[in-house]
Symmetry: C2
Subunit: 327 residues, 2 copies
Amino acid sequence: MVTLNDIAKMANVSKSTVSRYLNNGSVSQKTREKLDEIVQQTGYQPNLLAQSLKAQKSNMVGVIIPRYGSPSTNEVLKGIDTIAYAEDIQLMIMNSDLDIERTKKNLRLLQRQKVGVIILLATAIDKELEEQLKTSKTPILLVGQKLAGLPSYVYKDYEAGRLIAEHAIQLGHKKLLFVGVSEEDYAVGVLRKKGFYDVAKQNGAEISFIQTNFSRSKNYEKALEFLPKTQATYIAAATDLMAIGIFNACMELGIQIPHQISLSGFGGYNETRNVLPHITTIQYSHSGMGEAVMKAAIQTLETGENSLNTEWPVQLLIQGSTEELKD
Amino acid sequence: MVTLNDIAKMANVSKSTVSRYLNNGSVSQKTREKLDEIVQQTGYQPNLLAQSLKAQKSNMVGVIIPRYGSPSTNEVLKGIDTIAYAEDIQLMIMNSDLDIERTKKNLRLLQRQKVGVIILLATAIDKELEEQLKTSKTPILLVGQKLAGLPSYVYKDYEAGRLIAEHAIQLGHKKLLFVGVSEEDYAVGVLRKKGFYDVAKQNGAEISFIQTNFSRSKNYEKALEFLPKTQATYIAAATDLMAIGIFNACMELGIQIPHQISLSGFGGYNETRNVLPHITTIQYSHSGMGEAVMKAAIQTLETGENSLNTEWPVQLLIQGSTEELKD
DNA sequence: CTGAAAGCGCTAACAA
DNA sequence: TTGTTAGCGCTTTCAG
């Protein structure tokens, strides 16, 4: 492996000259040309480890994701990556596989790697992790969860729930069904539901609730049960994927969407466009959020300042699966 | 930041003793206990950069992916991650965003990071990249493309095409339509199609071809055009997503699947289960491949040996979208 | 079982 | 503009 030292010898100059050549640039025209050539020929690449060790930190940003393949994660990642690439910052992505212990471990690894900032796409946070986050020397940006004292980026999920309910009400629906998940998930299980309920109640709608989980197949099965019985003319599923499960059950049962029942989701993924009619949903600007977070990360990197908490807006995306109540 | 040196001073021993304590372990009971306590208290974590610099390499494995969010990439990544995690190996994931220049840059970065092995999920490879790959000091494992002289992991896509055609023939179909993509993509555009054609011709089936691209919407639109005209009773789309586009067009036109037309894809992603009936497809064991690649990477890491080329098997997954030809 | 010393590849004063 | 020197945090001979 060719090192800075090798280059120096070949060029008959000192290491520092080469280093300067590589960095600031206070080098004579002549040596510069010589160096140009040698570097060219040898294909020399500065050792990043040595550079970072010296600098006591790398210009890398660590990203801890909950798992691979989640559409929202992917979108956030895209946003983060867009900015990181533009700013020439390397990303170190680690997967926690929805395991809190792994999250802690990843955190430690990133710290030991001396990354400049850590972006944590969080799901659950326990006491120990909270402690670890708060005492971290490496600045941390939290996405998807709030934690006092740490810069956090979350969505306006309560608002999202409200938007869907308002949409349903506006279409004239009076009998609503919310298909949701456990309250352990604060954003999805609590906020979306609460927003929906609050608006629904304010408008005197009749509202029922069924709890399932995040999986499409589970919702499909449950829906086969509850669809024949329900009085509801509008079903709000807590995620797009859940909505698709319910959608399939409707098809199976010959229930026409949106003529007999209106159906909506939350998320705004492409999946809502895999079925016809496309499913009305709440569009989360994941990639926008990702970009914002990465910009904040860069600022932290450069100025050492931590940015403030941010709530990220959401948007109603009306598609074919919801329509005005007939008769 | 607390370093090994700090610990040494606190314990009144030399750095080497602490280092030994941390690694091999030839330390007296007494100092060990003392060190235990100090490390505990200070929360000392060895600096990974320094360790790697010293070792001249990190035990990290670099993974270059073509882009975020692709289901196949995600699956491969999951497989890689499963093994990496079990073996306590860190992954450094970089995105090339389908840009060959970015791939080259990522490659260089990974090399400078002194990762032990690089796994490249490749799409296109040009001359320059080929050169870069072949001259790399860091061992490289290629996934999804073949390149003489480099260990490569690919699928049996020709075989996949054959399997689908055999399935169609077995169901009694004689008029087949293959909806494919450009031949620039060797695996999808060439191999799958060729396998399909070869079997179809051998069996005297009548076969037509329509070229679209990978996007769902494009296939949807195209299908709205060709569906009313086609004589085919079996349509093989070159990917699952393409099949879904066609599926939606069938629904739009009131064509019943599988009663009027049988439809299949390639891929085996969950998306095939987002519609009813689920779509018959070829199941690619992406995560299995990912695991295999990572195991190979670990072997390379440990023994320095490069493993051989591997062709990965595929499997026919019969679902509801294909059925025996009636009358 | 322990310590001194050298060095991984690089950068950054400080002199020259 | 250049070279000398020291040192980032760690591991690893080699003596003791």
